[in-house]
């Protein structure tokens, strides 16, 4: 479903964020990308959602090179790949409900569909009663769940999560991870980038380890080993 083929990303001659990275992800997989800060995890995800372009190599999604897509096709790709981030990227002046509805409005969905779907995803992430709260009135874990709900509302094929638990305490961390597992069990592919050793070891799923921009290990099930 997703294939990185000899991908390199070089910002300048001294620093390469990614070096000749190749691996693929099958539909329905739950895969973790691990590595220290700066290992290239985020860059890899940015290449997939076409936020950045590779210096070399190709990134395929459903057999299409995403970097050969025309600009008007990219929004459709992004609706098939839901992205969540460490800093949530919620709009502070909108409520939880409006943040999720916004993603649907942007895609030109009709109002009736929005009114139907937003409560459903809010319920799915366990925030049925928090729809009218603004992000500042929510805890870190709740904010991240709103972000997950927003990513889910397009019924994406893939969820990419870039350090989604980086700002959360252990209890909230596990809430978010359990939610990701639930989403994966419902059939959505999940790519989780993290450097949280405990999560990786407890998940016991496929692990791709990165170090200095290169893949050093790809095991299924894998463990958090960096050396």
């Amino acid at each position: 479903m997703i294939r990185f083929q000899n991908v390199s990303k070089i910002y300048n001659s001294q620093s390469a964020a990614l070096r000749d990275v190749s691996f693929s992800v099958d539909s329905g997989e739950f895969i973790s990308l691990v590595g220290r800060s700066g290992a290239g995890k985020s860059t890899l995800l940015k290449l997939l959602i076409v936020e950045e372009k590779p210096s070399e190599g190709r990134v395929y999604f459903d057999k299409r090179d995403v970097h050969k897509m025309r600009p008007h096709e990219v929004p459709f790709l992004r609706r098939r790949i839901g992205a969540i981030f460490q800093d949530f990227k919620l709009l502070p002046q909108k409520t939880a409900y409006e943040n999720i509805a916004f993603a649907m409005e942007v895609a030109g969905k009709p109002k009736t569909e929005i009114h139907h779907d937003v409560p459903l995803v809010l319920d799915l992430v366990g925030l049925k009663d928090k729809g009218n709260n603004f992000p500042r009135e929510l805890s870190g874990g709740e904010k991240q769940r709103v972000a997950i709900a927003r990513a889910l509302v397009h019924r994406p094929d893939v969820i990419v999560a870039d350090e989604p638990t980086g700002n959360l305490d252990p209890i909230n961390t596990w809430d978010v991870i359990r939610l990701l597992i639930k989403i994966n069990e419902m059939g959505t592919t999940v790519i989780l980038a993290t450097h949280d050793k405990e999560i990786i070891n407890a998940l016991s799923r496929r692990v791709v380890s990165l170090d200095k921009g290169a893949v050093i290990r790809d095991e299924n099930p894998g463990r958090y080993i960096l050396s």
């Binding site: 959602i49 992004r78 990227k89 916004f102 993603a103 895609a107 397009h154």
Partner: protein, 273 residues
């Protein structure tokens, strides 16, 4: 943007004034060809016909010897000495002449050259182009220079206007950059993101044009009559009201184009993600 539109409209009216002045000056320029006293009238008529056929010639006016003396007498009817001295002469001392007006001031040179080379040269006693040549050439030079500098000034003002409008819109876009990045992230198309800013640019243009007009009308009420008193050929107020819809339309179109263009440029960098 209001100021820019005001300047543009001001330039437009200035151009009307300038063209008016230049046209009225240009219509006063002509070439007069004087024929020798014994030149037969049919030959002169032939010559007139030939000149009339030139593509550069707008019109010609033949003044026969008799008409010339009548004009002179009319002009100096109060001056008895002059009239008496004419009678003393016995014969008509005036030469027949042909006044030629070109379509454009720059064409007088080529007309004069043509006359110089015709077979009618032997009946011509004098062409006054040479005498007026410097004045004619200087005037046509002034005409073209003023038009060019008007154009350059308009372009400079357009550039400044775009810069100002661009920065205004950029500030608005900067304050919503977070929203834009989230929009892009959740799969908004570029046109969806641009839409509100283009709308904003359009409204900027429409309101600026409205403000510019509301400043221009009273200003014209003050300037117009003063202008009229020293340049009676050009009536700014009647020109303005005669063309008000075109001016409003042009001003609004310019404002909208400016606003939309600036929005499009300003938002470009935020759409690259």
């Amino acid at each position: 943007m209001t100021i820019t539109l005001l300047v543009w409209s001001g330039l437009l009216l200035l151009n009307v004034v300038m063209t008016g002045i230049l046209d009225s000056l240009a219509s006063k320029i002509d070439i007069s060809v004087y024929f020798s006293l014994d030149a037969p009238e049919p030959a002169i008529k032939d010559f007139q016909q030939k000149i009339q056929q030139l593509s550069q010639v707008a019109d010609t006016e033949y003044i026969s010897r008799d008409e010339a003396i009548d004009v002179f007498k009319d002009k100096h009817s109060g001056d008895s000495t002059l009239v008496a001295s004419l009678q003393e002469l016995g014969s008509n001392p005036f030469e027949a002449s042909l006044n030629i007006r070109a379509k454009e001031t720059g064409q007088y040179g080529s007309i004069a050259d043509f006359i110089d080379k015709t077979e009618f040269k032997n009946i011509i006693s004098k062409i006054n182009f040479a005498e007026n040549k410097t004045a004619i050439e200087r005037l046509s030079h002034i005409i073209s220079v003023t038009r060019q500098s008007g154009l350059v000034l308009s372009l400079i003002m357009a550039f400044i206007a775009i810069l100002v409008a661009f920065n205004t819109v950029r500030l608005a876009i900067y304050s919503s950059r977070e929203e834009i990045s989230v929009m892009k992230l959740v799969g908004a198309s570029n046109w969806f993101v641009r839409g509100p800013f283009i709308m904003e640019g359009t409204l900027h243009g429409v309101f600026s044009s409205f403000f510019a007009l509301s400043v221009m009308i009273p200003a014209l009420g003050v300037i117009g009559p003063r202008f009229n008193s020293f340049l009676p050929e050009i009536n700014l107020i009647s020109y303005f009201y005669g063309n008000i819809w075109q001016i409003v339309l042009l001003q609004t179109a310019a404002g909208v184009a400016l606003g939309v263009f600036s929005s499009l440029i300003a938002i470009r960098r935020y759409l690259k993600v």
